[in-house]
């Protein structure tokens, strides 16, 4: 494959982040929703010295539950890479990932609260 096929006008460097994932492009286990909440609060007390720097950073950033999209943005890593990191970390018991609470999206009261709050912006 020619090198330029990796890149186009919109593309950033894509190879390096995949070193973090051992070249994998798909996470293992359940798919990780964009707004799933990542938490390291119940993490096994692993010695951070032994962990990849990215793992340590995820653990630090997720002491309070944090949505995947926010985490990817703050880590400045592409979403796909972050998903693989997170699924690996979940397998190792370093984090928990909770799906977003969709059952309340259809609660008219919650939505009225949203509309009221937006009006005050």
């Amino acid at each position: 494959m020619r090198g330029d096929q990796w890149l186009d006008r919109d593309a950033g460097p894509v190879v390096r982040p995949y070193l973090l994932t051992g070249g994998r492009t798909r996470p293992t286990g359940d798919s990780v929703d964009l707004l799933a909440l990542v938490s390291s609060a119940d993490a096994n007390s692993a010695s951070e010295v032994l962990l990849e720097p990215e793992y340590v950073e995820v653990i630090r950033q997720c002491r309070q539950p944090k949505p995947v999209a926010d985490l990817a943005s703050d880590l400045d890593l592409p979403l796909g890479v972050v998903r693989i990191l997170l699924s690996d970390m979940r397998e190792q018991g370093l984090i928990t990932i909770r799906p977003p609470a969709r059952n309340r999206l259809t609660d008219p009261q919650v939505l009225k609260d949203v509309a009221d709050a937006l009006r005050r912006l």
Binding site: M1, Q5, W6, D8, D10, A11, G12, V14, P17, Y18, G23, R24, T25, R26, D33, L34, L35, L37, P65, P67, A69, D70, A72, S73, D74, D76, L77, P78, L79, G80, V81, R98, P100, A101, R102, N103, R104, L105, T106, P108, V110, L111, K112, D113, V114, A115, A117, L118, R119, L121
Partner: protein, 200 residues
Amino acid sequence: MLSAGSEQDLDTASPVSIKILIAGGFGAGKTTLVSSVSEIKPLRTEEVLSEPSVLVDALDGVEQKTTTTVAMDFGRITVRDDLVVYLFGTPGQHRFWFMWDELALGALGAVVMADTRRLADCFPSVDYFERRGLPFVVAVNCFDGARRFDPEVVRTALDLNQGVPVVMCDARQRSSSRDVLVTLVEYAIRLISDSEVMSH
């Protein structure tokens, strides 16, 4: 689908995230709207563009595939500690269609930004959300120098269902972008209460 009692309690305790998509053609004002109304953050995604015929996704095949990176508009509005609205700008180019299903999953609804100078650019977005049954509003971004249209003219041109709100906006103005989002949330509330009436 209701989960077990303990998870219900967790759900109630955890923050509610509302996801709203901002769609529309290139240059229709998606980024402008997201940045005028929310704290905008950089978000990159990337996808492996596999051949449609390739069914097996081998783990060792990275070098066989074309990977593409795309920057998305991503904004958050913290309504309350336990209530956050997320805005995701959908990538406009057709080769990123595959990302839309994921973005649309669990979304409250969408804003389709329309530029009357290039109205046809938003047809694919309108088609997509209609097919998917996701509530959407059409926001006509009133660019300087663009001819002003009656919302009904835009509705007819886009062949929209009667209920779909069409609003004029200036995406540069926070208040105007905010009103677009309010219109969408109110429309979603109407659809939810209508469907509850139907099911009872």
